[in-house]
Subunit: 333 residues, 2 copies
């Protein structure tokens, strides 16, 4: 296993230590239990927006803590759900008296632990709502999921709900907005290589020299099919068509698009994929209103990419454009 | 070869096409000859700052074109110097009448072609100065280099000189500043895996399962030694000590630090390395005034990282903090 770590068991904590040292103006890290919160959290009168899940998807979620995005994040061990006590502590840290929204990706462990934490907080008078993101069109039910997996739309939901909370939308409105983002967002991913979980020490799955996995999950869960390598054009078309057909997106729609790297694919290739995606969307009469190209929701060092499209109206675009200041996403500040 | 491309010969052009489509507010791409320039270039009365070199190091250089950084970049084929006609065209595109600075990494082909382009421009009345970056402490002379290779300090020089030009420093002053950055910047890198040049189709070098290369070049050039894998702590210490001893940095110095990923190493590991670096610097009495942690000067999908330290005074820090708006680096706007 070739990784820049010391002890696999300590890698998440040590990495978070580095995150805190690198961005002391933006966030702080608590190590017992483990969570990351805005340096100025809780903010009185503002809805707290928090998320979390297994580590290994950086910058998501801890790298999206900061002004205009998440108030707190609770990172579990690599590809492992955070525990209820982590989520409870993060929720308290984010609660400025206006309630807290949990943005939860649809994995069984995450859902269970976020629910338990929400109950603990509510017993003590905190108001907590949860929205489950399940935007992956690749498969119904998966290794850790009943229904669809939650993937790239999570990043967009965190940005948009974070902006809404910053504008002092109330909890019901931020929650409704998050549902709207989930309902209008769709994603699909693919892998050229596996990733290796530090504690496991060996690749999560095996792919032949001439194979790729279409519809891969962000933990290496099986996708739709394992096929022969294809060109970037063909791969992009297959992912985009699956995403477009699912909502379905229609001619005249405007979208926020994300071409996301899985961690081990160079930026040069992601921009090349973005060019192919722009072509497909143009052909479908869909307007690329905003975009992200880069590594936002990764799977350790997996090579591959995913495409997320979010059908966006004026409200979503306006919230998208609001300033954001986090380690992983930043503009306007 | 597992890459998200269509035709290896077209990968650079197609990727630049995606870059232009993704950032039409920041930059534009010319494909004949190939160069990238600020959407508002040339800016009358402002020194033009340009750089370039082989592709495969994204976001450097094309991803650093924009307000407060580069006016233009000329990307060659992967790991291949740009041609004089590319550089000449980029220089013209960046020339607003106050002269142009060429920031050149110390590789024989780059130096030769930038010199030739500068002569062509000067024959037609343009004023061009060049500064060669040679900050890699790993080895003297290398596969494509007489003297030291130019690596991470290039990124910092582009940011700082771009800010100075934006402030309307004149050409002599921007040039002197670039020399100051080069004189005070030092870097070293390491690789856990090789990269694969698209046109070659196979790994540039071979590393055993338990081996790493300390002092690697950004094109996979040999480093100081090939050794057994070690912990992140040990690797960071060895790189940092080589860098610190070289300038030498001294207790009381303030630095801008960059922990840079080579392209295939997850962000989680880069923050972990940053934590180790912060420890080493604390022990040496050196203040971490500013930092970058992420993929800035990459080597395709190589796994590994590099460390760059720039001794910074108030002038450099102030220029560092100036607003910048490029695809790869952005703040204050």
């Amino acid at each position: 296993m070739k990784k820049l770590i010391n002890d696999p068991q300590e890698a998440v904590r040590e990495s978070l230590g580095g995150l805190a040292l690198a961005h002391p103006d933006i966030l702080k890290v608590c190590l017992d239990p483990v969570y990351v919160s805005r340096v100025d959290a809780p903010i009185q009168g503002k809805v707290g927006v928090i998320s979390g899940g297994g580590s290994g998807h950086e910058p998501m979620h801890a790298g999206f803590v900061g002004k205009g995005m998440l108030d707190a994040a609770c990172p579990g061990q690599v590809f492992t759900s955070p525990t209820p006590d982590q989520i409870e502590a993060a929720t308290r840290a984010a609660d400025g008296g206006a309630g807290v929204l949990h943005i939860v990706k649809n994995y069984t462990g995450d859902i269970m632990n976020f629910e338990m934490a929400a109950e603990l907080c509510q017993m003590q008078g905190g108001e907590v709502r949860a929205v489950v993101i399940n935007d992956d069109v690749a498969v119904e039910d998966s290794l850790y999921t009943a229904g669809r997996r939650g993937v790239g739309t999570t990043v967009l939901a965190e940005k948009i709900c974070g902006a809404a909370a910053e504008r002092r939308y109330d909890l019901a409105r931020v929650e409704a907005l998050c549902r709207k983002v989930n309902e209008n967002g769709r994603s699909m991913g693919m892998a050229l290589t596996s990733c290796t979980v530090p504690a496991a020490g060996r690749p999560t799955f095996e792919l032949g020299e001439n194979e790729m996995e279409m519809g891969i999950g962000i933990h290496g869960e099986p996708g739709r099919e394992r096929t022969a390598l294809a060109s970037a054009r063909e791969i992009t078309e297959r992912m985009a068509e699956a995403v477009l057909a699912d909502l379905p997106f229609r001619s005249g729609d405007r979208v926020i698009a994300m071409v996301n790297g899985m961690g081990g694919t160079p930026l040069m290739e992601l921009y090349l994929v973005y060019r192919e995606l722009a072509d497909v969307l143009k052909g479908a009469g869909i307007a690329l209103a905003r975009r992200l190209v880069g590594n936002y929701i990764t799977s350790l060092e997996m090579a591959g990419c995913s495409i997320t499209l979010l059908r966006a109206d004026d409200e979503l675009l306006s919230l998208w454009d609001d300033p954001v200041l986090t380690p992983g996403l930043r503009w306007g500040i």
